[in-house]
């Protein structure tokens, strides 16, 4: 695959379509030579980013799409997941399983934590409508880390 190759996918704001982005990301990572373990990490991170965009960004609005842009650059794969929401600016918090089991914290709310834990870089960018995005990066040189 040529360095700088880019693929763009547009998803309806409906749960389940995140699997299209997962498959696309997995295919691109496979072409770049990532291990299956890293591809599984990437698939989960991309799915969670798309689910957040569908649910919280676009609020299931069927007039809005979620944009997914995948770009290879040397040994790194960058994925931007773009929605029409206000975006997040704060760092994700680590879920507290004890508080969840005690009923003191919602059972949900683990997506951003998983994204940040499973990729090498994760950044949330606030922007005007259609411009809020999360940027994920995985690198080949992190294969054995």
């Amino acid at each position: 695959m040529k360095n700088g190759s880019s693929v763009e996918v547009r998803l309806p704001s409906e749960l389940g379509f995140e699997k299209i982005a997962m498959s696309t990301a997995a295919g691109m990572a496979q072409l770049m030579g990532f291990s299956q373990d890293r591809i599984e990490d990437l698939k989960t991170a991309v799915a969670e980013a798309c689910i957040n965009a569908i649910e919280h960004g676009n609020k299931f609005d069927d007039r809005l799409d979620v944009g997914v842009v995948l770009s290879s650059n040397n040994d790194e794969l960058e994925i931007k997941v773009i929605d029409d929401g206000a975006g997040f600016h704060s760092a994700p918090s680590t879920p507290n399983i004890d508080r969840k089991i005690a009923g003191e914290e919602e059972p949900r709310g683990m997506g951003m934590f998983l994204i940040q834990s499973l990729v090498d870089e994760a950044e949330w960018h606030k922007g005007p409508p259609g411009r809020s995005f999360v940027r994920l990066v995985i690198r080949l040189d992190k294969e054995n880390s």
């Binding site: 699997k19 989960t44 879920p95 089991i101 949900r108 934590f113 998983l114």
Partner: protein, 118 residues
């Protein structure tokens, strides 16, 4: 777009001699799975040990994991049942451990191992 969650119930006996209800899931484990999973879970009856079998599942997201946490939360509150998990891929075993599920449910590689640990 999401594959409907199906749940099949079967029974087994743990190494301790206790009856065990096994709930075998297939399809996606996501927010849309909540009704199917919790209904099946609430219908297991008076058994004190339940195993959740994910060997037929390819896709689990954080909303699906939240449903499993909901089961653990209910059992913690009621205090009368033990839940174990088996059949996860190595990736999802890692994810379940990352979010802390492994602290409240034993995660075993397969049914035989899960039953021997109960």
């Amino acid at each position: 777009m999401q594959a409907a969650t199906k749940v099949a119930r079967r029974n087994a006996t743990a190494a301790s001699g206790d009856d065990v209800a096994i709930l075998a899931f297939s399809g996606d484990i996501a927010s849309t799975s909540k009704e199917a999973m919790l209904q099946a879970y609430h219908a297991v009856g008076p058994v004190k040990k339940v195993l959740l079998d994910f060997s037929g599942v390819d896709y689990i997201n954080s909303s699906g994991i939240a449903i499993i946490i909901q089961m653990l939360l209910e059992e913690r509150a009621a205090g009368h049942r033990t839940i174990g998990i088996f059949g996860l891929t190595p990736h999802f075993k890692k994810v379940f451990t990352m979010v802390g599920v492994a602290k409240y449910a034993t995660i075993s590689p397969d049914q035989a191992a899960a039953l021997s640990e109960m």
